[in-house]
Amino acid sequence: MNYEYLFKRAQELNITDIEVYTEVKEGLDISLFNGAVDKNVMYKTTGIALRGLYNGQMGYVSSENLADDKIDYLLERLIDKAKVLTLDEKSFIYEGSDSYPEVEERALTFTEVPTWEKIKLLQELETKIKEKDIRIASVANCMYRETKVTIEIRNSKGLYLTKTDGYCFIYASAVAKDESDVKSGSDYRIVKDLSEINLDRLAESIVKRAVGLLNATPVESKKYPIILENEVFADILGAFQSMFSGESLLKKLTLLKDKIGEQVANTNITIVDDPLCKEAHIQHSFDDEGVSCSRKEIISKGVFKTFLHNLKTANALNTQSTGNGFKASLNSPVGVRYTNLYVEKGYSSLEDMIKSVQEGLLITSVQGLHSGVNPISGDFSLQSSGYLIQNGVITKPVNLIVIAGNFLEMLKNVEEVGNDLVFTYQHIGCPSIKISALQVSGE
């Protein structure tokens, strides 16, 4: 695309500032079924998102059609959009931060591995899963996915930034069967170098999750002490993360409104947004507006410290951008999103936490996160499965129960924080935690 013409034409049309965000994505998506390749998809796409200020309002358009003869049409649409907006909050095109943190570059070695080797890796994983336990009836899904993304931001204020990152994702789910029951379990790994994957351990975890829940039954409805396994806690935190967003605050859709400086969680809880976290899958030097990224504690020893902001929410609320201006997708406007959101790990091992429970539940999976949680009120009600713990020992698998509570109340009732921090594919990291009690509906 002819950027020079674009900037010039924008100026002629009275678009005071304009920015082009370009995303080039390349990838591969393979899955197996019964040893054979079931899905084999390759792609390369380029898209642009334009945003520009017209009469003080920010108009957005995006396009996957990069022909130069579309430039005029796109700018006209942008103006048409800006004309109807009646936002109070001021929007900005950013001239750039004074400095940007350095991100350690890690080579994306997977892009050099031929496709057949990736297929072979999946076949090995599938075989290992089937060999681990005779109750494994099938491997329902065994997949490899890689993406490499290059982003460029250039604007009429002279900003030009670019970054390339990517990773591959290996996932499988297995179905376990015995005389009386069928259950499934899954797990995955995210790496930049395929040699980092221990296939044996991945297979073992998948099998354990499937077989372990065979013949699970509900438990009696009442309050139980609850241990949330690390990934489960991360899933729940992810469902509620919008309560930390400056956008939610602007819309008055967060329970944390007016709570800065207040104790909102137990003192053993510290929640961090760290774009540079080395244990996370991706590091960010700048956000999608070109603002420099940095680490901040959202909840520090239980005290709520800050919302996350982009330039617009920060300005409207009279504060600074925290470098959290990100787009959900190419064609969405810059919103507010965490980078690597995690709960700082504690000292207890999962085993010790289990030992400390008289009668309680270890929750290893929750379903229905898109419907069973209300990020505005903090209420959740989630179908769950896991294990019953009696006198410090796991005694039986449990399913078809619903755990229910309120997220902030739950954070106040965290008795112990585990040392097993893990980052999920959603870039959220959590250790396992022990909660004094949650309401459980079962039988």
């Binding site: 796409t45 796109l74 229905g368 419907s371 009600s381 459980v440 079962g442």
Partner: protein, 463 residues
């Protein structure tokens, strides 16, 4: 736009390594979003979605690729890298491309692309103002319009060129009511494969009042006490359970792999004899309708369950080869970025013999799920869970007090057998259905039904 000769050249290139079928899916889409929040227009976006997906099949093996370089050169480059997925002798396949002529049964009378933003915003203002002024406890109202104007052209080595123009429009209303320490949301939407005439045909004021009333009522509700009891699920969006817990298990993607609980059950009694379920992609201007599916096959009405007996699955071209059965005209995809697969269109239980009043009157003690939220299901086991956005207790054959925070939990195959009453008030609700081939508009629907027994979760103390 590709000429016939260019399309043929691309398809022939795809077949060079022994493929027995190839397809080009070309898409040009204009997507518009508008949001009215807190009295202001807070969002107004346009996206041009433009690209091509190429697919090569050999028996039931598939390779797929996509690009937004839709020039002849771009497509040939993709075809050449895709064909490396097969390494066989070239088959002797010859074809000539001919355009199929199909009537448009889903015309947009007021074309979204020719209506001004100012006119579109008027619809948002109507629902916004109505909901906002409904009650003092309403603290936040967000109204949105989503439009997806899609033109698709499909070319394949069966010699077919099929085109479809689709205009999906949807107006969604979200309402928040609150009192100190408690917030309650309610939402609903109106949508179709049509133009803005849809919003003139519907009573937007009554629609907005209904959503606002739900939030206000539920704000004062007590927490649901978790228990097992008879459950009456209301019409319209209540059909989400059929969709999630049974519909997905009838899709060839899970049946062909032997992963569905309904595998090998054609002709068998899988539901209570009063149950008949249908998927119909031909219903004029319905949200899940289209003239052709995304493989270029005309859509049709498929009876899934008739008087409790399983009659049909959802089958696409590739899975038809695995399952050795007919395609059902319901292969769909979100965009050129997805290979098509068997999906639902408009899926619903047909009317029964009871009335809504009779069902309530005949329920001594139970739960009434008036407004369903979303949910999910584990396809391997059929276990599902759904949030209830508006629920009430039924006591002595009467709807009594509202309860909040209820979740329906169960197993799809069991629930089908447990349905013991069906009313005659069929209606549908509009959802976005996410699965292997992306997120697509799908209608869910049913008359009011009663399930003999079901687990309902909640936060309330023990009864």
């Amino acid at each position: 736009m590709l000429s016939k000769e260019e399309a043929k050249l691309v398809l022939e290139t795809c077949l060079e390594t022994g493929g027995d079928f190839a397809e080009i899916f070309l898409e040009d889409t204009v997507q518009n979003d508008l949001e009215l929040s807190g009295g202001k227009i807070t969002k107004s976006n346009t996206s041009l979605i433009h690209g091509a997906g190429l697919r090569i099949l050999r028996d039931d093996q598939e390779v797929y690729g996509y690009t937004n370089d839709t020039s002849l050169q771009g497509l040939l480059t993709l075809a050449n890298s895709l064909k490396t997925g097969f390494n066989y002798e070239k088959l002797n396949i010859s074809f000539d491309l001919e355009e199929v002529d199909l009537p448009n049964n889903h015309l947009a009378v007021i074309n979204p692309l020719s209506l001004s933003n100012v006119d579109k915003i008027k619809y948002l203002q109507t629902v916004y103002e109505t909901a906002k002024n409904y009650h003092e406890s309403i603290t936040q109202v967000i109204a949105t319009i989503w439009e997806h104007n899609q033109i698709v052209t499909i070319y394949n080595t069966e010699g077919r060129i099929a085109k479809d123009e689709r205009h999906h429009v949807r107006l969604t209303l979200n309402v928040v009511a609150s009192k100190p320490g408690v917030m309650q949301t309610a939402h609903d939407s109106i949508g179709g494969n049509c133009g803005y005439e849809l919003f003139d045909q519907r009573d937007l004021v009554a629609f907005a009042q209904d959503v606002a009333q739900s939030a206000v009522t539920m704000l004062e509700a007590e927490e649901m006490v978790g228990q097992m009891l008879p459950v009456v699920i209301h019409n319209g969006f209540g059909g989400v359970i059929l969709h999630e817990a049974c519909g997905h298990a009838l899709e060839a993607t899970s049946v062909a792999k032997g992963l569905s609980v309904f595998c090998g059950k054609l002709g068998e009694q899988i539901a209570s004899p009063i149950v008949t379920a249908v998927d119909d992609g031909t219903l004029p201007n319905y949200w899940g309708s289209a003239n052709i599916d995304d493989e270029g096959t005309p859509t049709r009405r498929n009876v899934l369950i008739e008087n409790g007996i399983l009659k049909s699955y959802f089958v696409d071209k590739r899975n038809a080869r695995k399952m050795k059965c007919e395609i059902t005209g319901s292969a769909r995809r979100q965009s050129y970025r997805f290979s098509p697969t068997s999906r639902m269109t408009n899926t619903f239980f047909v009317n029964g013999n009871s009335t809504f009043e009779e069902i309530i009157k005949n329920t001594e003690y139970g739960f009434f799920a008036k407004r369903m939220g979303g949910g999910s299901v584990n396809p391997a086991t059929g276990e599902f869970n759904f949030a209830v956005n508006e629920g009430y207790m039924i006591e002595n054959g009467k709807i009594t007090r509202p309860v909040r925070g209820a979740t329906l939990v169960g197993n799809g195959a069991d629930i089908l057998k447990q349905i013991d009453m069906i009313a005659n008030n069929l209606s549908t609700g509009h959802g976005m259905c996410g699965s292997l081939s992306g997120s697509i508009p799908a209608d869910v629907g049913q008359p009011t039904i009663r399930v003999k027994k079901m687990t309902v979760g909640g936060r309330g103390g023990k009864k």
